[in-house]
Amino acid sequence: MARVRVLVRPKEGILDPQGVAVERALPALGFDGVSNVHVGRLIELDVDDPSTVDAMCQKLLANPLVEDYEIVS
Amino acid sequence: MSDAAGTLPTVEDAVALGLTRDEYALIIEKLGREPNDVELAMFSLLWSEHCSYKHSKKLLGTLPTEGPKVLMGPGENAGAVDVGSGVAIAFKVESHNHPSAVEPFQGAATGVGGILRDIFAIGARPIAVLDSLRFGEPSSARSRYLLDGAVSGIGHYGNSIGVPTVGGEVYFEGPYEQNCLVNAMALGIANADEMIRSAAAGVGNVLVLFGASTGRDGIGGASVLASAEFGEDDSAKRPSVQVGDPFEEKKLLECSLELLRTGLLVSLQDLGAAGLTSSAAEMASKGEVGIEIAVDRVPLREAGMAPFEIMVSESQERMLCVVEPSRVDEVLALCEKWEVHGTAIGTVTDTGRVVVTQGGEVVGDMPVAALVDDCPLYDLEPAKPDAQIYPAPEAVLAGGETVSETLLALLSSANIASRLPLFQQYDWLVQSRTVRRPEQADAAVLQLEHGNAIATAIDGSGRKVACDPYWGTVGNVLECASNLACVGAEPLGTTNNLNFGNPEKPHVAWQLTEAVRGLGDACRALDAPIVGGNVSLYNEAPDGPIYPTPVVGMVGELPDPTRAGKLGFGAMGDVIALAGPFRPSLAGSELAKLRGEALPDVLPEIDIAAVRGAQEAIREAVRAGELSSAHDVAEGGVLVAIAESVLGGGVGAQIDLKTEDEAWLFGEAPGGFVVSGPPEAIERLAQRVETTVIGRVGGGALTLGEDVSWSVEELQTAHAALGTLFP
């Protein structure tokens, strides 16, 4: 049994309005020098067989047309 | 009987849970011994203001609750009125003020979720939501944050569950800065003879819990009862914010309605404030039975929950039903179909006691009567304050503005500007009933299958009630009924939410007493009895209480939805008139607020009968299809109402009015209606109610007399001011 984390983020080049909103909000709070913000999703799961996670991402957890994913254990 | 740590809670624990020492002593007397942690937790919740209404119950008993159209009055999950053809409309309003101040998105969302459950708990399918919101001035970043969060939360929940949000109101006033108000009203439809009550019945019947699993939501306050094993860092395990899941509730709704349709239930109750504690105890109390609950049968989301936690958890989206033993399997199968995990967790007994067990051992045992009926009720000690307790609002207008500037200032003020930026975040279409969309008319209109329609509006007043709790409340109730009249609807019943400060303070007690008196008198005069409602007290900050804010929701009926009234001017050449016993005054008005004037100590008396007469005349004229438009005069007075009708119709108007008289132009009072229609129709109306012709529909601008005029675009721009609050 392993604990796996999947990070899903919008593909480069696709407008990410959530990322834009966060990037605009930070300077107002006193944080400068921030750019290239993207907002995505975290999926955490306990799996018996971690090698199946990639297929899960392809099939359900991410939409490969518009999202990239990264598996972190 | 034992508790986890082996020691009993103390009187200090009781006080930390919000009980008084006297109440704790009374509990010991009723139990015949000291309560353990499960029992103390349950008493502290059921005897809290929120559940017991201990400071308001006596006062609420003075309200009118009966009438020929009332099918279900106060005391059940929601009230219901008869709208003809065997159809009942259930409705109720409730507040979620304190949670919304903590986390506005989830506070408002779960407020909507809670009121919806009250509706389908009596077997009605929810068909509409309306919201009444109050925040501090929009110049405050915190108030803008709360507004944005609350609107998103209401949208999130209502839209996802497929119930249209068809109306509502929002106001911005200084006294709400520390204590915002989020009141949610819902309506539902049912066959009158198929509604279900919540009384548990039938000794030996089974209690089935269905919906979401139970976690530690909302337990925060009860954490003082943690046994020795829990350390301080476990506070994260007891979130005080309840998180709503509208998807779960949609399944719960469909499952509940199907269970009722197939006749599988003896009774049904939703789990709201105080979770299993209040649901089980109230079901037992209404049915005059006992209840036994095995907490280890409750499906949990978190491991290792103590019995008291399971009993007080406020996890959302859960229902409790009573089922005959032979039908439990069918109930569980239906729950499985809708994926809402039904579980048998207890039984109905004849002991008149609530017994809580874990692993077969009794961990709590209390008489139902002690829990539900024996909570002490307190008398208020009202005393009228010597002077106005609220400071004058901050001035926004410097003084010396022209009529032209004044109208634009009012139209762009936060309490008057268009609410479309809020409403466009709500689905007001789903279920295909919405005949009048937000801002098309003074009330929402929903068509029913039998060919008639219902109308509904929600109206509250804070500042006016602060000026004069009695007449301010009377005026507020009349305004709600006037809104219904403008679409052609006759009020059938009222729900109310009383939002006040600390009732143990004499001046708040006075506000509450006078407001309830006004509420009662007005509802009696309108034949619109109270069918249910809610009280939210202790809305108070160190610098003082909120404005006393009674909020009323009304439901009315109209026979022909094709004739539902509109507020926008229609045909060119129509005559514009002001109808009704309208005696406007600038006292406590929006203009007075913008000028930073001190609040008056009293408001003018209202001729309630005359206002009712005007409402009836307007209603009949609208139903007869005579009027092109009808619009109640409210905040900002006559000129604002005319501007709103210009904007609603997208067409100009030429008004011949005395231009110097500010009280006439911008003064407020109940009983004024700006109407338009063919000359003969206005003449016919004049025979039934005081009517003054004031102008004609036409042109591309709003002109007042010879000298003053505004283009439609100018009015539009001013009116769109709230858009900046939702970037």
Binding site: R41, N63 | I161, F247, Q425, Y426, S432, T562, F726
Partner: protein, 218 residues
């Protein structure tokens, strides 16, 4: 003409869609349950609006795997008529029956308002009988309606309706409001034609789409 309207857990506008289909003369309407596989011999399937599975993970991402959708995919591949409205459009894209994906509105807010749709392709069974350039007034209500398709694929997409008059509410590529597949038998759009079938509640322009599907629009 027999219409079938699917209900998933969380679907909201199924009843409205059934009511709309029922307004087409001579039509028959059945409800299709997500767990069933039997399409009951329908001539057209409607995948309605709402929040199937709460829009959790991604809108439509879970509903597309239901047994009923397996049957619908087979039905579509055999040339059957499939209409996806709002959440239905999202399900069809996730299922691969339509190209592209629906992303969150650029404004990041749910938006409910009437929109004007320009009919761009009248060579589909959903718009036959309409005129190219015809404008339909139909309400839109959604949180994630921004239609997206990669640059290199956008020319290959059959656009059926576009937001007209600068009225794009969600920032979709090329103002696209609805697309169909290459064969023209599967159509998805974000606005809600089933909420534009009754004069009392708004325009009746949406009814034309259902009538078209029944071959009843001439």
């Amino acid at each position: 003409m027999k219409f079938g309207v699917i209900t998933f857990p969380g679907t909201c506008d199924d009843v409205d869609a059934r009511l709309a289909c029922a307004r087409v003369e001579g039509s028959d309407v059945v409800a299709l349950w997500h767990r069933d596989r039997d399409l009951q011999g329908v001539d057209a399937v409607v995948v309605p609006g709402g929040f199937s599975y709460g829009d959790y993970l991604r809108a439509g991402a879970i509903a597309r795997f239901s047994p009923m959708m397996e049957s619908v995919i087979e039905f579509a591949n055999d040339g059957g008529t499939v209409l996806g409205i709002c959440n239905g459009f999202q399900v069809l894209c996730e299922a691969g029956l339509l190209p592209g994906a629906l992303l969150p509105n650029v404004g990041l807010r749910f938006l409910c308002r009437q929109v004007n749709l320009e009919v761009v392709d009248t060579d589909t069974r959903f718009t036959s009988g309409m005129q190219t350039g015809e404008v339909l007034s139909i309400p839109a209500k959604h949180m994630s309606g921004r239609y997206f398709v990669p640059e290199d694929q956008v020319d290959g997409v059959r656009v059926v309706v576009r937001y007209a008059h600068d009225g794009n509410p969600n920032g979709s590529s090329n103002d696209i409001a609805g697309v169909c597949n290459a064969e023209g038998n599967v159509f998805g759009l974000m606005p809600h034609p089933e909420h534009a079938v009754d004069e009392l509640t708004g325009s009746t322009d949406g009814l034309r789409i259902f009538q078209s599907m029944a071959g009843a629009l001439v």
